[in-house]
């Protein structure tokens, strides 16, 4: 059972690396959205610093959402999902491996890119650990929740916008906690409370969402 889990992880990794451009797209999107804001609100560093927590988080959230639209699409079209459903392994486990692989390369890359963009927005170096940690804890939740939406909309012709409509409201707690942690760090307050909350939400998402994703995929495949 666990061997299928690792095999699927390996397979997904291989697939992602055979098309590296798709890995880069969310990152470039993330950078562009961040770059739009100084152009829109003006380059004063004070203003940028105050809005940077929210900005980084909104941009990260949108980048993750964008990358999730195609999460199950190719598996749906080439019949892989059908094979998953008729296999003897629990679908929730397979799905967890798939999302984990996806997160490890898109979410994690986002986390690594964030400090650079944070610096450009004038975030002090002292806030970087909190930025990294909050994204590290928050992006898995974004990937997992988004995967629920992706599973439900995978069979639809134009699911992208619908996916955003379904999932963005569910992202709000993560947004509040993540940017709250960063704001606290900016004001020199301890951010540990926020981070602990984020961690418990991550644990909750890892345990519960695979079942919702699996149910969603079964519905989409069974249509």
């Amino acid at each position: 059972m666990s061997s299928v889990f690792t095999l699927l992880l390996k397979r997904e990794t291989r697939l992602l690396f055979r098309r590296p451009a798709e890995l880069a797209n969310p990152l470039v999107f993330f950078a562009i959205v961040i770059a739009l804001f100084p152009l829109a609100v003006g380059p004063e560093s004070q203003l940028l610093q105050t809005i940077s927590p929210g900005l980084v988080w909104v941009a990260a959230l949108l980048a993750v959402l964008l990358s999730l639209d195609g999460l199950f699409r190719s598996d749906f079209e080439d019949g892989s999902l059908e094979q998953w459903v008729v296999s003897p392994h629990p679908l929730a486990l397979l799905v967890l491996a798939k999302v984990l692989a996806h997160w490890a390369f898109s979410g994690l890359a986002l986390v690594l890119l964030a400090p650079l963009l944070g610096l450009m927005l004038g975030l002090p170096l002292g806030a970087m650990p909190v930025l990294l940690l909050s994204l590290l804890l928050g992006t898995p939740i974004l990937s997992l929740l988004g995967a629920v939406g992706a599973a439900l909309t995978v069979g639809l012709k134009r699911g992208g916008l619908l996916l955003a409509l379904l999932i963005l409201p569910l992202y709000i707690p993560v947004l509040i906690l993540g940017s709250g942690a960063l704001q606290a760090a900016l004001q020199g307050l301890p951010a540990i409370g926020h981070l602990l909350w984020l961690a418990s939400l991550t644990a909750l998402a890892v345990t519960l969402t695979p079942f919702a994703i699996a149910a969603g995929l079964k519905i989409s495949v069974g249509e």
């Binding site: 629920v148 639809l156 619908l162 409201p169 709000i172 149910a215």
Partner: protein, 251 residues
């Protein structure tokens, strides 16, 4: 335990018959309770010493907000019943209740905003309750949009059920995080709906209105469900004869 009633509940024919008997009662109860509540709340309840007469909006805002939240929970419950026991009626209830819930959320938001103007001096304030209501409205839009987007109606019902269940697990998290975000950003704002002790002349009409709104919801839901049942079961012989008699009456 005897479960026959539960399976009977799943039979569309039985539902159609029993709901036809309940509907007039519910409709009358809703009409009477709401009109009594409105007149009582508007004309007879004493005015609030702080907010004056604008507080009378509470008699719509609070029942609508109550209903909006409980309808979403009902969606999730119907979703569980539909997914676990494969009861078709639960699917019907889920999809027919969602638009009503969205309208109730809209009423709660609108009255909240209008109420905000004399109270806070602005049409929209990012108050914790209003913000949660706004998010709830988005959640309703999601369920409705998903149901409309999937053409196969069984899959649509199942997908909506999954989404409603995920949403309902999230609602408390959203609510607490929004409340917490709110206290962080605007400490100690004046909360309209949380009065320490409301005198009886004030909350009694509120109770009447809440009951009236629930009856209203039940009546409208039954109306919508009955139509949907006729559509879905159009091949069944009892539906054919029912439609024949209804058509005969209207012609």
């Amino acid at each position: 335990m005897n479960w026959t009633w539960f399976h009977k509940l799943g039979s569309p024919k039985w539902f159609y018959e029993i709901s036809g008997r309940w509907l007039p009662w519910l409709a009358w109860a809703a009409a009477i309770l709401v009109s009594v509540g409105v007149v009582w709340g508007l004309a007879f309840a004493p005015e609030d010493y702080q907010q004056g007469n604008s507080f009378r909006i509470i008699y719509i805002h609070v029942p609508a907000a109550f209903l909006a939240q409980s309808v979403y929970v009902m969606l999730a419950v119907a979703g569980v019943v539909g997914l676990v026991w494969k009861m078709k009626l639960a699917d019907v209830a889920l999809q027919q209740a969602a638009p009503i819930g969205a309208w109730m959320t809209f009423i709660a938001l609108l009255t909240g905003a209008v109420w905000g103007k004399p109270t806070w001096g602005a049409w929209w304030v990012w108050d914790a309750r209003l913000t949660s209501m706004l998010i709830l409205l988005f959640l309703y839009f999601g369920v409705i949009a998903l149901g409309q987007a999937i053409s196969n109606r069984d899959s649509a019902a199942k997908a909506c059920a999954v989404l409603a269940i995920v949403g309902v697990v999230n609602i408390p998290i959203i609510k607490y995080s929004v409340e917490w975000w709110n206290t962080l950003h605007q400490p100690a704002t004046f909360k309209v709906t949380e009065k320490p002790a409301m005198p009886m002349e004030m909350w009694l009409p509120l109770l009447v209105m809440v009951l009236g709104f629930y009856c209203f919801f039940a009546a409208v839901l039954l109306m919508r469900m009955r139509l949907d049942v006729l559509r879905r079961e159009s091949r069944a012989s009892w539906v054919k004869s029912e439609i024949k008699s209804l058509v005969g009456k209207s012609a």
